[in-house]
Symmetry: C2
Subunit: 395 residues, 2 copies
């Protein structure tokens, strides 16, 4: 009988091995970029606030800055009168005109909204009392000096960009990993070379969709993809393309040829060029996943099936850089699994319940565009029952 994957490693063990290598490997893989370009990149370091924000007490409304005690008891029927001054401090019985965002004058501790004031020549009638710090944004109210604004490993959002620029940070250190992408398979035709699908069909070919998909997945993970196109199932050609891609990048991702068929050369080639660290993981889909090292660079050998390669990418690459949000929702029907195997089940959220997507093989791509996320069934669990609350990783 044919060759088989020898000893499958558990998902937990495989994850630990790969993530340990990531930790070591990424030590010097950063780049400093302008904050404006940082959207979607992953922070290489913790960033603390260098200052309090606001930096000074600010008026939160248009109106008049006052000493709150000078306004106590003021009302429409019993207005109080304050002298209008124009200086950087006020004294008892005085007020200063301010706009939203203005720095508060010295001694002032509140703002009376202009809707409750009437300005006359040199004085202001106050129709409503204010308590101390009413309508004032106080020093440090938004952010305290030393507050953690962005965590190492966190994806940078528009909100991070807002707060980092507010405290005067102009550049950020982000992970900078160049990723070479190679697809293998005699049956593949690169998209730009497709003349008609009819022609592909007649020649029993399919589009090399994995290169484009991985390009997008890598980009979405905050890393830098480069496509090397497809290579046929020929040991020497695969070897020379991997060599080239490894030299030109930090890591390489391949798809296809990672099983143990007669034409599955990838694992042997990685072993010749460097060394396979692991091959074959107790997961479904994605079992033939391989991971190795060549010249201190990393190589991930993924399946040719898009769904399997997506899952492998998700578990061993994306989830290192960008954590998914997790929620807990009830299952709409049973899902079965096998003891000893970790299952990754695509799901849809329907009426706020988890609907596992019925799919047959790992090749059913359309299940991915329909999925809202996935559920991981650990190896020591035989499945989940209808109504049970399960953790969902959200796309």
């Amino acid at each position: 009988m044919g060759k088989m994957l020898k000893k499958l490693i558990s998902y937990d063990k495989a994850k630990e091995m790969v993530f340990n290598e990531w930790n070591k490997f990424l030590k010097d893989k950063f780049k400093i970029i302008p904050l404006l370009d940082a959207l979607g990149r992953v922070s290489y370091e913790d960033i603390m606030s260098p200052i309090d924000l606001p930096m000074f007490d600010r008026a939160a409304m248009d109106g008049y800055a006052v000493r709150a005690e000078d306004t106590f008891g003021a009302s429409t029927t019993n207005p109080l009168i304050l002298n209008l001054v124009e200086k950087k401090e006020i004294n008892e019985g005085e007020c200063l005109k301010v706009f939203t965002g203005s720095k508060m004058p010295k001694n002032a501790d509140a703002v009376v909204m202009k809707e409750y004031c009437k300005e006359e020549d040199g004085f202001v009638e106050i129709y409503k009392g204010v308590h101390p710090y009413e309508n004032v944004s106080r020093i440090g109210e938004d952010v305290r000096k030393g507050d953690l604004l962005l965590k190492k490993g966190e994806a940078i959002s528009p909100h991070h960009i807002s707060i980092l620029s507010s405290v005067g940070i102009k550049e950020v250190k982000v992970y900078n990993v160049n990723v070479g992408i190679i697809s293998t398979g005699d049956e593949l035709v690169d998209l730009e070379e497709v003349i008609s699908m009819e022609e592909l069909k007649n020649n029993s070919k399919i589009v090399n969709s994995n290169s484009l998909m991985l390009y997008a997945l890598v980009k979405e993970s905050g890393l830098n993809p480069k496509i090397y196109g497809k290579v046929v199932d020929d040991r020497e050609r695969i070897k020379s393309l991997i060599k080239k891609a490894i030299i030109e990048n930090d890591i390489v991702i391949t798809t296809g040829g990672t099983s143990v068929g007669d034409r599955d050369y990838i694992i042997e080639v990685v072993n010749e060029l460097g060394g396979i660290v692991l091959h074959g993981v107790q997961i479904r889909p994605g079992k033939p996943f391989g991971f190795g090292k060549i010249n201190n660079k990393l190589i991930f050998t993924l399946s040719g099936y898009p769904v399997a390669s997506t899952v492998q990418f998700e578990l061993f690459i994306r989830s290192y850089f960008k954590k998914r949000k997790k929620i807990k929702l009830p299952l709409r029907r049973n899902i079965a699994s096998e003891l000893g195997r970790t299952d990754i089940v695509r799901i849809k959220i329907e009426d706020f319940e988890v609907e596992p997507l019925r799919i047959t093989g790992s090749g059913v791509i359309s299940s991915l565009t329909k999925a809202d996320g996935y559920v991981i069934i650990p190896e020591n669990v035989e499945g989940y029952e209808k109504g049970e609350y399960v953790e969902v990783y959200l796309f």
Copy 2:
């Protein structure tokens, strides 16, 4: 007393008015781009599959293509023998060697995995029977001709890119909207001009963070941002910058100066250049939101406070282009609102419950980086109680 926002419009009404204008405005605002550049853009049209996928029955495993009926009853103790042929069809008693992805030969309807076969010279021993279509990916199993692969208004994911390339689609039509971004306020300093935060503090200035934040928000929405920097609260300067930005872009977004203070010129300027469609919405935060038209282009006047402007952007721009995922989770504590007003409450998901973020003013930026999403409390609801299930829009 001072001017006030006259008549506030309800959130539902405002949304309807703005979205109607978007619908009309976007009629010709598209661009055709290569599929590889489409990640994160928003599709301008429905895309149906032009073909069945797979285009032909394919082997789903390495092994031997057979007529299933020829293998019935085969087992380790009772192997059956088939003649090994090398042609595009097989007949009774024959088999053909295939690899994962190979086109199935004519008359074959199943694959016996090679692990259950032993190849000898000219024939193959079969150790396991297969049923019809076992280990075969059938025509149209992934996608049927005419299936909807991508919806108009849907954000393009790596999975869409995978499936679209698989069916041979090389380019996609996406929304193409150029967005000019202007911040107004005497107190603002553009980030690149900041020498030290100490200097800003001494001059009672703050960083123009809104331009950078909006740049990122616009980009994340699949649109094309362009920053015009800050302009002081001077009616003529604001007017000439808006004029320039309107000419050079499809829409303009401003921040600041949209209230009714003495220095709030934006609304008047929009009215002079074109017309304000609405100003003042019953939402919190974000009440002073304004929306207008100049030369058949759209202008959105947002608040100066980052949290308020983020919410306004979310409700009236982002949510038109990219729908948030919605889930339902129980509240960890009461949230109060006011009848007649729509509240947008930032929340965190903790232990799979919804924790409303305690924040004081609309200026508390840090609440945004901590938030996992938000809850909308409609105008006819006074609030929600602890334990109640609420709809969460996920960031």
